[in-house]
């Protein structure tokens, strides 16, 4: 597929990453470039009393992309994101950040990388209970040894960014869950990281607040254009915010693709089950359906066909379809291609969802 996202330079690359828990995980990976088929090795690991939490994860994350890793609890998604930041030491594989192998970094280098290149947001917020909002946000700057005025002014900048002005002196336990996560987000942004990890950042919040935080997250990303790895167990959340989704089950990545690809062409029955309840019209956009064999050819397009943006949701086109429009001219965006879209195709997708 000619998705513009994947033509951007690679920011973070994950190659054959394994994480195995058990008595002697190192034993199985001693020889570099093992030849065993991953499934066979995983089965052998289980048979010999090990738990393969991440099995042979391979993917590239491109600059400016929102890459969502999604799966149920226990699927290995939290372990995988911790392998990417080396909070958990992978048993095998390569994690390449900006062209350098992260797993080869010495402890001191790793600390430098974390201080300047990475930011992370946690499900339980991870705020320090003894520091107020301002000091929590300035904490990563403080441990770098930046002068007090510099870190305070930077902290105030990000506080404004997440809309927490006026709560600078409050302590974490005085804030609501949503406000606490705003602090967590502001803290992770304080060092202007190149890559931003979010581990189920909104899962601990009420549904309404969660929705609101997702909107704000998207607004922030429009402004900041970070490279993002976002973990969630909520398929709706994944579909709303992802450029691409990696779906995990039992430590394996089953499918990687845009939300539309996952919804329209699920790799197997498990993925299909997972996406069954998703409302297509609120996830799939006009540009996702053009260039499809079922779509119409541009030359057949009448001159008065309405023009729609490639990023427009199908739900937004329903009134026009209902009014009798048969064809749409789709204007391409930086994320989705342009072309021609037929009403039949729209109705088809909305009616049947995945086939």
């Amino acid at each position: 597929m000619n998705d513009p996202i994947v033509t951007r330079p690679v920011k973070l690359s994950c190659r054959q990453v394994w994480k195995v828990y058990g008595p002697r995980p190192g034993y199985y990976f001693d020889t570099r470039g093992y030849q065993i088929e991953p499934e066979t090795l995983a089965r052998r690991l289980v048979a010999e009393g090990h738990i393969p939490a991440v099995v042979n994860a391979n993917f590239d994350i491109h600059a400016g992309e929102i890459f969502v890793i999604m799966g149920l609890s226990g699927s290995g998604k939290s372990t995988l994101v911790r392998c990417l930041s080396r909070l958990v030491e992978p048993s095998h594989g390569q994690v390449v950040l900006d062209g350098a192998d992260l797993l080869a970094a010495s402890p001191a280098e790793l600390i430098e990388i974390r201080r300047h290149k990475m930011g992370m947001v946690f499900q339980g917020f991870g705020l320090l209970p003894h520091l107020n909002v301002l000091d929590n946000i300035a904490f990563p700057l403080k441990i770098q040894g930046r002068p007090a005025e510099a870190r305070e002014s930077r902290a105030r900048e990000v506080i404004r960014l997440v809309g927490l002005e006026g709560r600078e002196a409050a302590f974490p336990h005085e804030l609501s869950g949503g406000q606490q996560q705003r602090v967590g987000i502001a803290r992770s942004l304080a060092v202007e990281p190149g890559i931003w990890f979010l581990d189920e950042p909104f899962s601990a919040l009420d549904p309404l607040i969660r929705r609101q935080m997702q909107d704000e997250f998207l607004r922030l990303q429009d402004q900041l254009q970070k490279t993002i790895v976002f973990i969630t167990h909520d398929i709706m959340e994944a579909c709303r915010i992802a450029d691409r989704i990696a779906l995990m089950c039992d430590g394996r990545i089953i499918q990687i693709g845009t939300p539309a690809e996952i919804l329209l062409a699920p790799a197997d029955a498990y993925v299909a089950d997972f996406t069954e309840d998703v409302a297509m019209g609120r996830v799939i956009r006009a540009g996702d359906l053009v260039g499809d064999p079922a779509g119409a050819r541009p030359e057949a397009l009448p001159a008065d066909a309405p023009e729609v943006a490639a990023d427009a949701l199908l739900d937004g086109l329903i009134p026009a379809v209902a009014a009798g429009q048969r064809r749409f001219r789709v204007r391409g965006s930086d994320r989705r291609p342009g072309g021609v879209l037929s009403a039949d195709r729209i109705l088809d997708v909305l009616r049947h969802g995945q086939q």
């Binding site: 974390r114 992370m120 339980g124 320090l128 209970p129 003894h130 990563p140 441990i143």
Partner: protein
């Protein structure tokens, strides 16, 4: 375990299946039969009831032979350390003495104001003034001086050990074993080696209190660091903290509430121990004051000095606890700057007083004390007037409960004790009654029936007269049922070790004293706990009483018991019960109140009567908590044994005390280790039962 079914299921279906329960019941019946046979065989085989002296080993002497060379090698170091410790001790002591008391009251009141509020500040002023009026200011300051040295040392050592165990996980298990031992080994047992090492003087007491008060800090440090949420830890690492930054800037501040709680517990343990080790004397402090008053049977003076210790303990507890929780409340009444100002003002006042009248320490003459002693005399007169009633109580319990357990019904039913002799008909009546009870229990639980039969046997022979093989069997089977075969082996080994080292009779005396005390505490305290769980008002009244009882140093419990009941075993029993009654009250109330509301609503909806609700829903669900309360009661009773030995018992505690008098470290250590081993084994057994019950209830 959710939904209304859980509450009922937990009671009616045995967790391990009916067949297994049946088997377990049969095992207990075999035990009863074996014990009965042993009891019947006693006349023929005398070695069954009394362990033959030929089989005993001179373990105490071996211990002496083993430890003495080590001690004498270590002694120069110990003496040097004692000399070193003497300097700061002397300094603080002189400092506290030289500050005029109004200044110190001002400082403490300011601290209390910051820690809690005006009420505590007023209490501080009143209680310290009381100390001055009683004429115990100097002694109180000497006690505080040792506490002031030992607390920072304990906190530093405890924090370092806890942090090390947190970093190197394999240290945790050995460290916890040592902590268990340090906290269950009676202080008197290691006082003798300390005296040998450090010589007579406050340093030995200081080290003893260090050994006793560091463990709570270690435990709280380990717990606090372990409970730092993973999210917080990871956020620190992701921010790019070096390991040192992670520890000092993330882990320690996050664990701070728990660490401060540890400091509070360390303070209380240090105070309690400083009072106890006053037994070695020579420091003119509060503990010595109480002890010497008790020894000379000056009950008024001991009551007065005991009350001084209590107010100091309560004050120390409330202030440190308040300072520990200061971050979790709204802004304190007195800011940091206000506190500094108050302290500065107090110091200026002290200096001014010193310049104005260098000789005057402003302590009142004996007049204040005379008034209080008059009050005290009135109290004594009351005690004298009610002597008859208390004697009646004492006699009833001594002859009705204590003697039968000690010498058995076969021993008590003589003209000299009960005024009757045991006829065959009486014996048959007794056996019949026990059998009836067992039969009634049989329908509910076979183990219960077996327990009733065993209790009947024990009551017949008395604990010391019970065949020792039977006792070893009972202990091993209990351990097996509670925590499995490994603990059964350990428990049997502990009892066998006590047998072999010749401490059997004192041991059985301890078991008997503890058993009565624990049973009494469970009956009274459990009843109070049930009552408090039903009524908020009772709970409100009991809470400060329990708080006060738990804050008091163990020593103090001897005073009222001694005053009302004179020297003797019954007095020891009362003192033990006073100390051990708090856990059953607390745990029963907490357990009953902690039963989830949905279970109670479900049972109500089914139409239970209040009694059914209590006995069929709340008590079974609260059972793990109640078992833990029982566990705490036993621990408290055992730790009080040695203190209670001061008023006359014949148990292991007395052995420790005797060894202290004879400066026999081997015997003291042996008896102390026996108490500690008994405490640890019974702790594991009861925890095992509680865990199993909890596991069964959620299955």
């Amino acid at each position: 375990m959710s939904g209304p079914g859980g509450a009922i299921r937990a009671r009616t279906v045995p967790p391990r299946g009916a067949a297994a329960a049946h088997l377990a019941g049969a095992r207990w019946l075999w035990l009863v039969l074996a014990c009965a046979a042993l009891v019947l065989l006693r006349p023929a085989l005398p070695w069954l009831s009394a362990f033959p002296p030929d089989w005993q080993l001179p373990v105490a002497a071996w211990l002496n032979g083993l430890t003495m060379p080590v001690f004498s090698w270590l002694r120069p170091f110990g003496r040097a350390a004692a000399l070193l410790l003497d300097y700061p001790l002397g300094g603080i002591r002189a400092g506290l003495q030289s500050i005029a008391w109004p200044s110190l009251v001002l400082i403490v009141a300011a601290l209390a104001l910051r820690a809690s509020g005006w009420r505590l500040a007023a209490f501080a002023v009143a209680s310290l003034t009381y100390v001055v009026l009683c004429g115990y200011w100097r002694q109180a300051m000497n006690t505080l001086a040792i506490v002031a040295i030992s607390v920072p040392l304990s906190v530093a050592v405890g924090f370092a050990l806890g942090a090390m165990a947190h970093r190197w996980r394999r240290l945790v298990r050995p460290l916890e074993a040592v902590l268990d031992l340090m906290q269950t080994l009676p202080a008197f047992a290691y006082l003798i080696p300390l005296l040998i090492l450090f010589g007579f003087g406050p340093s030995a007491g200081l080290v003893a209190s260090l050994l006793f008060s560091a463990p709570p800090m270690v435990r709280n440090t380990m717990l606090g660091l372990r409970l730092v949420p993973a999210d917080i830890l990871e956020s620190g690492v992701m921010a790019g903290c070096t390991p040192r930054q992670t520890f000092w800037l993330v882990e320690v501040p996050s664990a701070m509430p728990r660490l401060l709680l540890g400091i509070n517990q360390t303070c209380m343990a240090a105070l309690s121990m400083v009072i106890i080790v006053a037994i070695i004397g020579g420091f003119d402090d509060m503990g010595w004051e109480v002890l010497s008053a008790m020894r000379r049977a000056e009950l008024g003076r001991s009551l007065l000095s005991g009350s001084v210790i209590v107010v100091i303990a309560i004050l120390l507890d409330r202030i440190t606890l308040g300072l520990a929780t200061i971050g979790r409340r709204r802004a304190p009444r007195l800011g940091r700057r206000g506190l500094a100002r108050a302290v500065a003002a107090a110091l200026v006042l002290a200096v001014a007083l010193r310049i104005l009248g260098p000789a005057a320490d402003l302590l009142p003459d004996a007049s204040g004390r005379n008034i209080l002693e008059g009050l005290d005399r009135a109290l004594l007169a009351f005690v004298g007037a009610t002597d008859a009633q208390f004697n009646l109580l004492r006699g009833a319990i001594t002859y009705g409960v204590m003697l039968p357990l000690r010498i058995g019904i076969e021993g008590a039913a003589t003209p000299a004790v009960w005024g009757v002799t045991l006829t065959p008909a009486g014996l048959a009546l007794y056996a019949g009654a026990v059998g009836m009870i067992a039969l009634l229990l049989w329908r509910h639980s076979r183990a219960g029936a077996a327990a009733a039969l065993l209790a009947g046997l024990l009551l017949y022979t008395g604990l010391p007269g019970f065949p020792w093989i039977g006792f070893v069997l009972i202990v091993a089977m209990l351990a097996h049922a509670g925590a499995g075969p490994r603990l059964a082996l350990v428990a049997a080994a502990v009892v066998a070790g006590i047998l072999v080292s010749g401490l059997w009779l004192p041991f059985m005396q301890s078991v008997y004293l503890c058993a009565i005390a624990v049973a009494g505490c469970l009956a009274i305290g459990g009843g109070l706990g049930v009552w408090a769980a039903q009524s908020d008002r009772v709970s409100q009244v009991l809470r400060p009483v329990c708080d006060a009882l738990q804050t008091m140093p163990q020593f103090v419990f001897l005073i009222p018991a001694l005053m009302l009941f004179r020297v003797g075993e019954f007095t020891a029993l009362i003192a033990i019960m006073l100390y051990a009654i708090v856990p059953p009250i607390r745990y029963v109330e907490q357990g009953l109140r902690g039963v989830p509301a949905d279970k109670i609503e479900a049972a109500r909806q089914m139409g239970t009567t209040p009694a059914q609700l209590l006995w069929q829903v709340r008590v079974p669900l609260a059972w793990p908590a109640i078992l833990l309360g029982m566990n705490q009661t036993i621990m408290a009773a055992l730790s009080m044994l040695v203190i209670a030995a001061l008023v006359g018992t014949r148990d292991l505690g007395q052995q420790v005390y005797v060894a202290l008098g004879k400066a026999d470290p081997g015997l003291g250590l042996l008896a102390g280790l026996a108490i500690a081993a008994v405490a640890m084994v019974s702790d594991r057994i009861l925890r095992g039962f509680a865990d199993r019950r909890r596991g069964g209830a959620t299955a």
